[in-house]
Symmetry: C3
Subunit: 379 residues, 3 copies
């Protein structure tokens, strides 16, 4: 049916662009019942009985509208019909179908979160028929050392060695300081004795979970020393986050301190602070940003959010990503809603005479792939 072609009416340069998805996760390989499926539609821990169904939200509508046709159902199929068809096809086939719709050439996969439940980067690449590259989660490396019994005195050196080992073949690293202590981090590289003292405090807690501003900074600088582009979780995330501590502007000191290194910093998600991220991408030479997670969450409002994001940011600093996690639907939604939003933004400008189709093609090439290739030196 004609209204299930998500690229209908889009600028050809956007519809046909091959993508680099610079921030994403593995998929759940097993079948899901309705509560499990709905729980993945929200960043809450679970669906609230006080709030009715997650299908009554923009992300829920987007699943019914745009994912149902990929499973041979009419657009806006009812939730139960959707889940029945999903079960009938089986998770493997469902994942394969959605991944094959995306037009993505290269996936940079964050392998550090709930890895045991999800497909590995290699499995994802096979399913998608695409290249995958790894992003090393800094805190995971540190926490593995804690589990292995590292001493406070030995931590700094062992971390550097271990990170170098794990980063071999990886294209970047990621900090989740936002989840643990917020983004209000001092800029300067912590001294070795500060790191030792902080490691002592941390290891004395008896749990490997790292939440110490000095250590998060140490990890970030260790990544920079290896010239690994550093991703930061920023903004919208699950209810573990104190969102007001995740404003990317809180990173200003650290961005100022790291600018001279020339190592790219990539601010992920950013909503509702995406205008702040756009500002940082303009004024700091090494800062890039995306909307990722936000795009599929806000469904048909993605157009509006994308337009806000690029008000100040040079197009050479804004990146496509899905931040898809668990559900293959998010790969499909994240790419199609991004294509639609970008295309409408550019078409609006073309129709008003504010840019040419040649300009639109060049901007599209930057945002969909070239910026990521340049930031991560993928070629």
């Amino acid at each position: 049916m004609s209204n299930s072609d998500p690229t209908e009416g889009l600028l050809p340069c956007v519809a046909l662009a091959r993508l680099v998805d610079h921030h994403c996760h593995g998929l759940i390989g097993t079948d899901l019942d309705r509560p499990a499926f709905e729980a993945l539609l929200t960043e809450a821990d679970a669906v609230s009985p006080l709030g009715t169904s997650l299908f009554d939200s923009l992300i829920g509508l987007a699943v019914r509208r745009w994912c149902a046709p990929v499973l041979d159902l009419p657009p806006l199929a009812e939730p139960d019909d959707y889940l029945a068809r999903r079960a009938e096809l089986g998770a493997v086939e469902v994942n394969r179908r959605f991944l094959r719709t995306t037009g993505t050439d290269t996936y940079l996969v964050d392998e550090g979160f709930r890895a045991a439940e999800l497909t590995s980067p290699g499995e994802l690449g096979t399913l998608a028929g695409a290249r995958t590259e790894r992003i090393v989660r800094l805190e995971t490396v540190a926490e593995d050392l804690a589990r292995a019994g590292v001493s406070a005195a030995g931590f700094a050196e062992e971390f550097r060695t271990e990170l170098e080992k794990r980063a071999a073949g990886a294209v970047g690293c990621k900090s989740i300081a936002a989840y643990r202590v917020g983004l209000d981090l001092a800029g300067e590289r912590p001294a070795e004795d500060e790191v030792r003292a902080a490691a002592g405090d941390w290891l004395a807690t008896g749990t490997p979970r790292l939440a110490n501003p000095v250590l998060h900074r140490f990890l970030i600088w260790a990544g920079i020393d290896l010239r690994l582009p550093v991703q930061f979780h920023v903004g919208y995330g699950d209810s573990d986050v104190d969102l007001h501590r995740c404003d990317p502007l809180l990173l200003t000191d650290l961005l100022r301190a790291t600018a001279p290194t020339g190592v790219p910093i990539l601010l992920l998600h950013n909503y509702p602070y995406h205008r702040h991220a756009g500002y940082l991408a303009q004024v700091f030479p090494h800062v890039f940003f995306d909307l990722s997670l936000c795009v599929h969450n806000v469904g048909f409002r993605a157009d509006a959010v994308i337009a806000e994001a690029v008000e100040l940011a040079p197009f050479g600093k804004f990146l496509f990503a899905t931040d898809a996690f668990g559900l293959a639907e998010f790969y499909h939604l994240g790419t199609l809603l991004f294509r639609r939003g970008l295309s409408r933004f550019l078409s609006t400008g073309i129709d008003a005479g504010e840019l040419s189709t040649t300009d639109a093609a060049r901007i599209t090439a930057l945002v969909t792939a070239a910026n990521a290739r340049r930031a991560y030196t993928l070629d």
Copy 2:
């Protein structure tokens, strides 16, 4: 005249929906001259001679556009003509006319602010021909005890007793901590000795005005213990507010601490932090929110603000309200601008194939009444 029908062109499900107005106030029952009327159009203490007339603002235009026809004047009648006609009809008739336009079945009335100047919940119900329910303002109960000479040692117990008494027959309570100390409140329930010490500090000030973070928290937890849904003033309000201390994200600790109780928390107004509130409504099971006051203040921009509010929030967590105060015009404007904004949001989605008319009807039913009925257990 045809262009004075505010429901023209709206989705029938929205135009005809019977409303629960879960946050509103009484009306001024006396006639108003132009300075008094204009002063009620702004959250400032008075109209500034530096700023010309409040009629030159979006709320002022909305009054002329949408309220004039209810008083038998053409749309966009001049301010002086409007006020002359208002005086001619008299406050009682004016209030009656505006209240009868709203299509509201049930009003939840905040009775704690400037009660002596305003119609009581009962009077409002009679004027409107509708059910009214009471919301108890927590700080008013406490301050009445201070006026009656409560001791620091006796405060906690007497407050609990008095709140239970006053809450009999009420459907919820409200905290105005935002106005007094801001929303950056610790989450955990304060210990009895902390409450006693804080009450001592407060009573020693010699004024009943409560502004003490420990006591605001105590009041809130007392409401939760009675399983009363708790409303919070959030965001935009008068110049007493330090607006940067009223970001709803500052409530994160308290929301995390109260989530296990299952007692609903309702975030009021929220502008300009409405996207933040939508996020909280997604990630916390017991959080609901509205735009209320903001809707009539931003006039024909209400569409844009409503669309932003629901980007992340499940529709099961977003509530209609007017926060009408003093002027009956606000009941009229708050309802019609909300209906228009909601209808346009849904129509945009329907026209783009993003949802069906059945979906729109279900979402409308949630937002206009069912969410409030469920949160306050009104049935």
Copy 3:
């Protein structure tokens, strides 16, 4: 060519309005190569090799679209062609052409930043064929005293004397506290001994650069004592700024303390906090605000930002300005994008019956000139 008339389709009242540009700077009088030109398109220190060209941004597109025709090129001329033509005409002719497009009667020129590189207010007035008035930068006056060897004990008195002297014939003053210490300033006027102690601290640093909250407050109150309207840098600026310390809401205490004086406070730029500024303009009688810099930076998104800015603010408190600096293109872009955005906002309202053309004309007169004339008592 028809599509280069930037006023095509605009409301006549907006297209023809004579403007007061209440916040702007001088121009660079020499020719610029591409790196130098691009560097002026960004608030970063320089163009980042990681981010490609600044022409690939909304401001870059706006230059090509709207400035090229003024230099006899087709809309969207290529950057190199644009710069070649600019060089061919020479800076003097280029500056003259752009300034003559604006329809601005009066410029209020901030003369305190990089004055040696830029045209003076008098030169600007001659180029533009318009009246110019001076805005005195408070920190520049103080820093000149430091360079001249003022003592801590003598600072307060000498500053007052010097400010009065320099403010003779000026129409306002400006604080750049935002750049130095952020806007979280206490409200009350600092005592003389506090000023003396703070001046001692400052002078002991051995550099004239002032960055001391007590002294910034002292400077501001000295301006108010002379009944000089006080401009504040707020929000978006270069990478020297800690943007999260530049939220105008942080000025709440100071606004509350200064309100009784009746001296206008003018909040400049404000993006991305422009809704916050609109709120302050509503609730404080003496607060005005603009978008200035932001308008030409966001190119064809200016419409959206202007609409957000006036949601809460009375139209009597919102001002036009360009904040043009260095490139005469910004005078052209700032005025035409503002006219287009304002016109579209008003036209949207007229088309929907929300205001009349008479209303639009009155609002336009306020925003484009009358508010500035009233705030600065220019007549």
